[in-house]
Symmetry: C2
Subunit: 536 residues, 2 copies
């Protein structure tokens, strides 16, 4: 058999050849713009030729600080297709972390959105390897004291539309790079390869997983600076699906409007995004019947949210699980064919779990006593391996704690039911250890968020002299429900949990602190809770 | 990223772990038998352990001469999973060719169906490398003078159900082997690898191709000795789909009954099989509404057949194209989303073509003047490359004529329309060259088979002093239509073709000669036509 190197350039070339009329709909600061894959293909070749001319070599890192839009998509393909490495930088990181990761990755060139450029202005004199900045804007270049600043459109205009991508790249060569935040210390870099990116795209295209298709209109809401927007832009381009890029600083209203206007069929994001969208759908009327899959990952989707999407809005919800180290797609929650006969409640219970391992990967779940029983009860850490799972962090000794004996130790604690469906119960470090037993903060959170007066809720532990740790619930009420009381909440939880699982206290807050990608930030929340008790 | 070797053992292990209750329904000489993947998994491990004990080493070839059934499925996984190579032998080949390919492949051990065993008895003294024969039977071993003959069930019973598959196999190691007949001389061997087999399975699992799924009940009618039954048993097992194995010497009645009784959702075979099935459906009543895809390849499916399936029986038809050298899936004919708005006739016309290149492969179509225009008219030879395309024949110098500069030269002549959809117009050698122009025998055949009185038809060339070659039609009428005349046929074709395309003659026959896998055998047909004129 031919080797048939699995290269990212082959994905954009497929879109150009077979789907030149299909579209990328891009929202920028100046409005909605429409590009065909024929356009995107030419612009990507222009960009690639300019990168070469600039002196970007095989293996060199090229950074981006950008929202989801067509120019970022062009970078997704042009940078790896010449053999260099696309380093997508999270624009919400602290300046210190941004300086660290750019220097650590040794980025040679940075592409930055106009509205993110002030961030570069604040840190540029600390960046050791960057030779130039290309600003992605529909307008004039910003007035700046930073040197070597170019305008994206002018820069690529001089490029060659007929540029040919090199074919001698190895599929195991680095193609992309993304940093994930660590509990302590600097973010850790994960390097993707051409092989991992193409195989991961196949993982998204299976009928039994996300079933991405040419017939889809895909809107990646998850940022392109976060694990390649879960690979959505890669698979959508490859299959010739239309894409809707929501652009900078979108609101729930913008998303709802795009879903309606562009007849979006598939969208992907974290639960907090979908909580916001639901709020918008409850406030204003939109047509959302084009949606065939709201893909949700990043943290556990509350069952109540899944039910609201499906029962109130008739929008199919697809719960998935993964992390930066897993490209990210690792599991997808779909029913097996014979589970379709279960009661509605049972079906929702299964679909609220993280789901079945995607074909192509391997898993095991380890407690201190070895592999856990598949009984839906025994808890253990999820270990993963496979062709789109990382095997190390980029130049970082902390890899030794995570990648052991050929397995990624996810740091996520889960159960596995009799059908092999996994349910994440907590991060190893967020599990509450009470009297020698474990309490899942995620289970309590999901139950709390099912209360009609609760907008969002998070549960953390507080130290306890007798029980070691005890749970405390932090609750944000919905508008108009500010009179919700601690007792009402505990009464609501009582029938659902063993008595010793019930939180010792309920703290009402204006907002739960979140990470730069919209997950609950338990570290800050613990500080907030501590402060609350010190003030009290 | 981890390498994550793509191994065939991981596919059966997925079925065992996640789908132990799903079933393989196997028709053997003693009736219908049902096995769960838990059973199949254990039996496959037993078989693998016995192969090792017998002394089968990495790279050794193990032959099969067998129909589609559960034991053949166990061999599909056990043999490659210990690092050896599954050589599936076409039971319909001539004894001379069977002797040649077994000796050429150097098979060490042969698994043979009870009813095919007489074939071994006839040739065994010419086989140079075979150490033993394992007979797959539900009954007693046949009485024979052949030495070293074992019974499959007894043989595996001594095996280890907990046998662990080796993990140090490379994905590029050989896994399977299949011979394809040549125009002249001995059959040519194609060797599949673990990588090509797993990636090809992914190709079948995409929502945009065959969309194989856990929810399917897959019945491979295409023989397991023919290009791995088009990879169906691999992908179906991997995804945990139920499988229906139609067993030995099935008839159209058997197939129709299995579709009805087992609620088959997907089946795959060559056009002649589906012509036979249609005849059965027209004669007797069956419930076929479980079918969501009749996959058809091997040769072009006549438009009339596609329409009958879809309009008369409401059974979706999926036209595909490939060959032994392409694993085989190369193209699938599905509409692009914006083609759904076309008229019914236009949609059928597109779907009767061979379709779009499967994601992961690359193609070009070359005439003497370079790449052809994508205008649906210009004809050229289809060239393919990619990770499940062969790069040589097994120890055979004839590979030099077929694998050139990294491309497989398929020997198939096609057009490509504006949308990139290919239509095979002929084998290079079957094209009729008349007066310096080309006439497609396939186009004429499809038109002929759309006549209500025609059961099957094939077109070949006869030498012509003036025009070099001229077409002649060979026609088999349907029962009760024996009075169909040459003139009626030519009148029927007239409005559809340029005058010089019309056959010079129509010869009525009882049967069109076919190859061992059910394709029209033009070589024999030409002899028959020649004989017809000599006798006349």
């Amino acid at each position: 058999m031919m080797k048939g190197n699995l290269l990212i350039s082959s994905m954009i070339e497929r879109a150009e050849r077979f789907f030149p009329k299909k579209e990328v709909i891009s929202r920028t600061s100046s409005g909605i713009h429409r590009f065909t894959y024929k356009d995107i293909g030419k612009r990507t070749r222009q960009l690639a030729s300019r990168l070469k001319e600039f002196g970007i070599e095989r293996g060199d890192r090229v950074g981006t600080l950008a929202w989801n839009h067509h120019r970022h998509l062009e970078l997704y393909f042009a940078v790896p297709s010449i053999g260099s490495v696309l380093h997508t930088i999270n624009i919400r990181l602290s300046p210190e972390h941004i300086i660290y990761i750019i220097n650590h990755a040794e980025d040679e060139l940075i592409f930055v959105d106009e509205d993110v450029f002030p961030l570069i202005e604040a840190v540029h004199d600390k960046l050791k390897t960057v030779k130039a900045y290309v600003v992605m804007t529909d307008n004039e270049l910003p007035d700046t004291k930073v040197n070597h600043v170019y305008s994206y459109e002018e820069w690529i205009a001089a490029g060659d539309e007929a540029f040919q991508y090199p074919q001698d790249i190895e599929e195991t060569d680095a193609a992309g790079m993304c940093f994930t935040s660590a509990t302590t210390g600097n973010p850790k870099g994960v390097v993707y390869t051409h092989r991992s990116t193409v195989l991961h795209s196949m993982g998204l295209a299976f009928a039994d997983t996300v079933a991405a298709s040419e017939s889809d209109i895909v809107m990646p809401v998850v940022p392109m600076f976060h694990v390649n927007a879960w690979g959505m832009p890669y698979v959508a381009t490859w299959l010739g699906a239309n894409q809707v890029m929501p652009g900078p600083r979108f609101t729930p209203e913008v998303l709802a409007q795009l879903i309606q206007d562009e007849k979006v069929t598939m969208t992907a994001g974290v639960p907090t995004i979908w909580l916001g969208l639901l709020k918008e759908l409850e406030t204003n009327d939109y047509v959302t019947d084009s949606l065939r899959a709201v893909v949700c990952g990043g943290s556990a989707a509350p069952l109540s949210m899944i039910k609201t999407f499906e029962k109130k809005y008739n929008v199919p919800f697809l719960h998935a699980y993964g992390m930066t180290e897993t490209s990210p797609l690792a599991t997808v929650s779909r029913l097996k064919s014979y589970q379709e006969d279960l009661s509605e409640e049972d079906r929702f219970d299964i679909r609220a779990k993280q789901g079945l391992l995607v074909p192509g990967l391997d898993m095991k779940v380890m407690s201190g006593q070895g592999e856990v029983k598949w009984d839906g009860e025994e808890m253990g850490e999820l270990l993963l391996r496979g062709p789109w799972i990382a095997d190390d962090y980029f130049k970082d000794e902390r890899g030794e704690e995570t990648f052991i004996d050929g397995w990624l130790h996810t740091g996520d604690v889960c159960t596995v039911d009799e059908e092999g469906v996994i349910k994440i119960v907590d991060r190893t470090k967020d599990l509450i250890k009470s009297g020698g037993e474990w309490i899942s903060s995620v289970d309590l959170e999901n139950a709390l968020m099912a209360h009609e007066a609760v907008f969002e809720a998070s549960v953390v532990s507080i130290p306890d002299p007798e029980w070691q740790e005890r749970p405390v619930a932090c609750v944000v009420t919905k508008e108009g429900h500010e009179d919700l009381s601690k007792d009402e909440i505990l009464e609501f939880l009582k029938p659902q949990f063993a008595k010793w699982w019930l939180p010792d206290d309920v703290i009402f807050m204006e907002e739960i602190p979140k990470t730069s990608v919209g997950k609950f930030l338990k570290r800050s929340l613990r500080d907030k809770v501590k402060e609350h008790y010190e003030l009290a």
